[in-house]
C-alpha cells in the first residue's frame, strides 16, 4: 500500500514538473507582429498587411515539437492595401466578409521538427494546424522558422519586456478554398493563389 502511494505521489510530481516546463507566450500586438498577404496576378501585385494580431502559445522549449499549442488571431477588418477603395472591397462580403467573420485564425495543433529551442538558435519545422478564414476552416501544413530569445535591456526599445519567440512562416493558400470567389472581371488583377506571410513576436507571459 505504502509503495503504491509513493508511486502515485512520484508520478504526480513528475507530471507536475513536466507541466511546469511549459511556457506561455502572448503574441505582441503593438506593431511587433505582422501578417500580410501577397496576390501576384497578371495585371497587379497587391500586398495587404495588418499588425492587429493577437493570440497565445504554450511551449516547452526543451521539446517544442510535442508540446506546442496555440492560436494566432488576425483582425480581418484591419488589412490595408494602401488604397481605401480596394480595402473596402477586401472587407466586403465578396472577399473577407469582415463584418460577419471579423477574425481569421490559425490554430497550431502539432509541429514536426527536431531539437530544443536554445536561445538564439533558429529551428525549422512544419506546423500542422487549422486556418480559418471567412468562417471556413482547413487543415494545412506550414513550413515555419522559430527562434527563442532571452530578454535583454535593449528590447525595451521594442516594447518587449520578457523572453520572446520569433516565428516566421510563408505559405500559399487558394482563396476559393475559403469561400472567396474572385469575380471574372477581376481575374487578372487578383490571384487565385495568395501567399500568406506571418512575422510574429510572442513575449513570455508573466
Amino acid at each position: 500500500m505504502f509503495v503504491r502511494i509513493v508511486t502515485v505521489v512520484v508520478a504526480l510530481l513528475v507530471s507536475a514538473g513536466g507541466h511546469a516546463a511549459e511556457l506561455k507566450f502572448n503574441v505582441h500586438s503593438f506593431g511587433m507582429s505582422r501578417v500580410s498577404f501577397t496576390s501576384d496576378a497578371m495585371l497587379e501585385t497587391i500586398v495587404g498587411t495588418t499588425s492587429k494580431v493577437s493570440g497565445s502559445l504554450t511551449i516547452d522549449p526543451k521539446k517544442p515539437a510535442t508540446t506546442v499549442k496555440g492560436q494566432i488571431v488576425v483582425d480581418a477588418a484591419t488589412f490595408r492595401t494602401g488604397i481605401d477603395m480596394r480595402d473596402a472591397h477586401l472587407r466586403s462580403a465578396k472577399f473577407l466578409d469582415a463584418k460577419t467573420h471579423p477574425k481569421a485564425t490559425f490554430s497550431i495543433e502539432k509541429v514536426v521538427g527536431r531539437g530544443a529551442l536554445v536561445p538564439g538558435k533558429k529551428l525549422k519545422g512544419t506546423v500542422h494546424g487549422t486556418l480559418t478564414i471567412k468562417g471556413v476552416s482547413k487543415t494545412i501544413k506550414v513550413p515555419i522558422v522559430v527562434a527563442f530569445y532571452k530578454w535583454t535591456p535593449e528590447l525595451k526599445n521594442f516594447k518587449v519586456f520578457g523572453d520572446l519567440l520569433r516565428i516566421k512562416a510563408s505559405f500559399p493558400i487558394k482563396v476559393a478554398d475559403y469561400g472567396v470567389k474572385v469575380p471574372s472581371v477581376l481575374g487578372k488583377k487578383v490571384a487565385q493563389s495568395v501567399m500568406i506571410n506571418l512575422n510574429i513576436t510572442a513575449v513570455q507571459a508573466k
Binding site: G31, M32, R34, T49, S51, R80, T81, G82, I83, D84, M85, R86, P119, G120, K121, K122, A147, Y149, K150, T152, E154, L155, F158, V160, L164, R166, N199, T201
Partner: protein, 64 residues
C-alpha cells in the same frame, strides 16, 4: 451645327480637360497607394528588421 463648327476648338479643349480630370480622379481613387500608409509600412518593416538584427546577435558567438 454652325455653333459646333465655330466652337469645335473650345469643345475639344473642354473634353480634354474633363478627360484629364476623370483620369486623375480614377488614378487617385483606384491606383495610387496612400503615401502615409506606404511610409508606415516602411517604418514597421524597418522596426521588425532592427529587432531581428538585435536578436541575431544573441545567436552569434562572435558578437559583443
Amino acid at each position: 451645327m454652325e455653333w459646333l463648327k465655330k466652337n469645335a476648338k473650345w469643345l475639344v479643349l473642354v473634353l480634354l480637360l474633363l478627360g484629364v480630370l476623370v483620369g486623375v480622379t480614377i488614378y487617385y481613387k483606384m491606383f495610387r497607394r496612400d503615401p502615409v500608409w506606404v511610409e508606415q509600412q516602411r517604418n514597421e518593416k524597418k522596426k521588425l528588421d532592427d529587432l531581428d538584427r538585435l536578436l541575431d546577435k544573441q545567436g552569434d558567438p562572435n558578437a559583443k
